[in-house]
């Protein structure tokens, strides 16, 4: 009934008694609860075919608890041998505290390009501390049956996008956009940084913010929130309390036509939706404009510096860098695209469509992933809060931009005038 420190400490005590390590046995810490079956049925057996002497256990924690629990367990010395790494600062921080070992002497790293390693390297790029595993690409899924019924084609420009939304709203009973603002994170991670890349021209805009040449109050950023302010009309009634799970259900049941999301959701809908769906990329201003996509380096894997099984862990990471893992991971964990340079044929049609965008568009990572989340107020949280408020229609695009800029300038030297 109450939440108290003593109880938490007692919980921590029981958690710490639960882990023991055998020689040649590795435990993987991860937030990908959904992938557990896949690791146990496909990835680990594949590894054991070539390395029968190393036993692997996959031990996931739920995503929202992962960062705090892994931090606490690394400090207490009870974390597993292999740590699944969040991109950029969260993992960098673990490396600086001495929890994640340097991987510089690992042969497998040669299989990755610099852009893939950047998310898990020190600021000077000298040391890499996690092996890149996979990226996710953001875009929109759409229900092909509803589109066919209404005679719609996937939009390329923003004008077409809103025409499509209007047609669905006026000519059918389904909700145009399956999106809610209750959980808040979608407003940033699958709306703002998804559609925004086309406004701030991907890397160019992100670098300009980092080196102080651009401000969040510039048109390129305010315009994204201004577009989001128009989305409220096309979301379901009461979307303010619609959760991410609600949105998934709404789309899976065929009650919504378009679902803004990332490639990680493909597997879920392959499983849950009994209609055909496709993907289209974030619309651009003019159909002929250069397009930009949010191609986010999302998952890496590193070695717990205090693990007694360093050799076995390094053997495993070298296998992760190989072509067998790339093939298995990309095609079995649908929607997560391997970051190594091995050529992989993507078998899932929607996943193949999304990875194909890399050929036409320029890739960028989530806007605030690098450096910008380091300060207080935490920009990731601030972006969740203001972006969901813009969707709710409770603040204006200008006010959202001003609040983010003000928080950013407060601690980031190049942004303070």
């Amino acid at each position: 009934m109450t939440f108290s420190l003593p109880r938490l400490l007692a919980l921590g005590l029981t958690a710490s008694l639960g882990s023991t390590a055998l020689a040649q046995s590795l435990t993987i810490e991860s937030w990908r609860v959904d992938d557990r079956a896949l690791w146990e049925s496909a990835l680990i057996p594949a590894f054991n075919r070539s390395h029968p002497d190393i036993e692997i256990r996959f031990r996931p924690t739920s995503p929202t608890e992962y960062d705090s629990s892994i931090n606490a367990r690394l400090q207490a010395g009870t974390a597993g041998d292999l740590i699944t790494c969040r991109p950029f600062d969260v993992s960098l921080n673990l490396h600086q505290q001495g929890h994640l070992a340097s991987l510089d002497s690992l042969d497998g790293l040669a299989n990755y390009q610099d852009f893939a390693k950047r998310a898990w390297s020190t600021d000077d790029g000298q040391t890499t501390f996690c092996m890149p595993m996979a990226s996710v690409i953001h875009g929109f899924l759409y229900n092909k049956e509803i589109f066919a019924e209404l005679g719609l084609t996937p939009p390329h420009s923003r004008e077409q996008f809103f025409q499509v939304l209007d047609t669905i709203k006026n000519n059918s009973r389904v909700t145009p956009l399956a999106l809610g603002s209750n959980d808040q994170w979608e407003a940033n991670q699958i709306v703002f940084t998804n559609i925004g890349a086309n406004y701030w021209q991907g890397e160019q805009g992100r670098q300009a913010l980092l080196n102080g040449e651009a401000r969040f109050t510039d048109d390129a950023f305010v315009a994204v929130w201004a577009e989001m302010a128009r989305w409220g009309d096309y979301m379901g009634r009461g979307y303010q309390s619609q959760t991410y799970g609600d949105s998934q259900n709404l789309f899976a049941l065929g009650r919504a036509a378009i679902y803004p999301t990332g490639s990680w959701d493909i597997a879920y809908f392959n499983d849950q939706a009994d209609f055909e769906f496709g993907a289209f990329r974030p619309p651009v201003e003019q159909p002929s404009d250069q397009c930009y996509i949010s191609d986010h380096t999302d998952i890496g894997i590193g070695i717990n510096a205090h693990s007694p099984n360093q050799e076995a862990a390094r053997t495993f990471l070298n296998w992760v860098a190989g072509s067998e893992f790339a093939e298995l991971f990309t095609n079995r964990v649908t929607g997560f695209f391997s970051l190594s340079s091995h050529e992989v044929d993507v078998t899932d049609p929607v996943a193949a469509e999304m990875i194909g965008w890399r050929n036409d568009c320029e890739s960028t990572i989530r806007l605030n992933a690098q450096v910008m989340n380091r300060g207080t107020p935490n920009m990731e949280q601030e972006l969740w809060v203001v972006s969901s408020q813009v969707l709710n229609g409770t603040i204006s695009a200008e006010a959202a931009a001003a609040r983010i800029q003000q928080g950013f300038a407060q601690w980031y030297e190049p942004q303070s005038d």
Binding site: N182, Q184, Q240, N378, Q410
Partner: protein
């Protein structure tokens, strides 16, 4: 006459003292101690006096969040005081009426939600209030109540009140039982004497029963206060640790959670978290002290 050391006292006190000391007193003292330290990037702690308190109360990014959480917590408590406890008193008074049929069934039913897990309560109410899967607009329209259709848990203006009312719904059974027990302990002869003197049931309630259960109402107030200022699970289960929209449901418990454990890319700080926990402790301590000095001492207890 020899004075032997009373070893049996030590023997009987030890189990309780040790358990209380290890799991309650020590963590509390250590939390207070930890709030005077700061942590470097590499995880080393050093003593820093009141730095954390200056950060938390002096820097606007932290202090705004802290005051917001405290104010929300006060509102959360006031709603419980204004809704939960009067309803509990009313229900207890009704249940203690002589000759009420099915009193036991009502009592059990009203107390039942208290036994359920907060997570289940949060989930059920989230579904009931969901505009998508919950009580539909059509059903409300049939009852002429369609103005009640809204995203009650999603709007900044209504989310905290809605959550507080869910909590009231769940916990109203506890104060009801306490007051009910206290009403039952009022001797029948006092009530009978009043009836013989011609007092109406209304008058009996206000002039005899209520003064006699006032000490219990005081106890209920303190329990509500401590419970509410330690609340966390319901908000976390329904709105997550970010307590949206726009931190409108953020209370001290969720604020502490984010500070101590971190959230997404916000990195947790054990020392600053301990500072928040210390402030929570002080708020509760001050509240309880104020209650004891201002109210408890003045309560008259009647010998029955």
């Amino acid at each position: 006459m020899s004075h032997r050391f009373p070893w049996h006292l030590v023997f009987f006190l030890a189990p309780a003292l040790i358990i209380y000391g290890v799991f309650s007193a020590y963590p509390l003292v250590d939390t207070l101690r930890l709030s005077f330290f700061v942590e470097s990037v590499t995880g080393e702690r050093r003593f820093s006096g009141l730095t954390n308190f200056y950060t938390l109360l002096g820097e606007s990014t932290w202090s705004n969040a802290f005051w917001n959480a405290l104010w929300n917590n006060i509102r959360f408590f006031l709603i419980h005081m204004l809704v939960q406890n009067p309803i509990a008193l009313l229900l207890a008074a009704l249940l203690s009426l002589k000759g009420l049929k099915g009193a036991r069934t009502y009592r059990t039913l009203i107390f039942l939600p208290t036994l359920l897990s907060v997570v289940i309560i949060g989930f059920i109410w989230q579904l009931i209030l969901s505009p998508l899967w919950g009580v539909s607009e059509g059903l409300l329209a049939m009852l002429g109540l369609d103005f009640l259709f809204d995203a009650w848990l999603g709007n900044e203006s209504s989310a905290l009140t809605t959550l507080a009312l869910i909590s009231v719904w769940q916990f109203v059974g506890i104060p009801m039982m306490l007051i009910y027990a206290s009403l039952l302990s009022i001797p029948d002869d006092i009530i009978e004497a009043a009836t013989v003197d011609g007092a109406s049931p209304w008058r009996i309630f206000w002039r005899i029963k209520l003064p006699l259960v006032l000490p219990t109402l005081g106890l209920v107030t303190i329990l509500t206060f401590v419970g509410n200022f330690n609340a966390f699970e319901l908000i976390y289960a329904v709105k997550g640790a970010l307590a949206g929209p726009n931190y409108s449901t953020d209370i001290l418990g969720t604020f502490f959670y984010r500070t101590f454990f971190g959230y997404q890319s916000q990195i947790g700080s054990a020392t600053l978290g301990a500072t928040v926990a210390t402030l929570m402790f002080l708020v509760i301590l001050l509240g309880v002290m104020a209650y004891f000095f201002a109210i408890q001492r003045r309560l008259t207890r009647y010998q029955m």
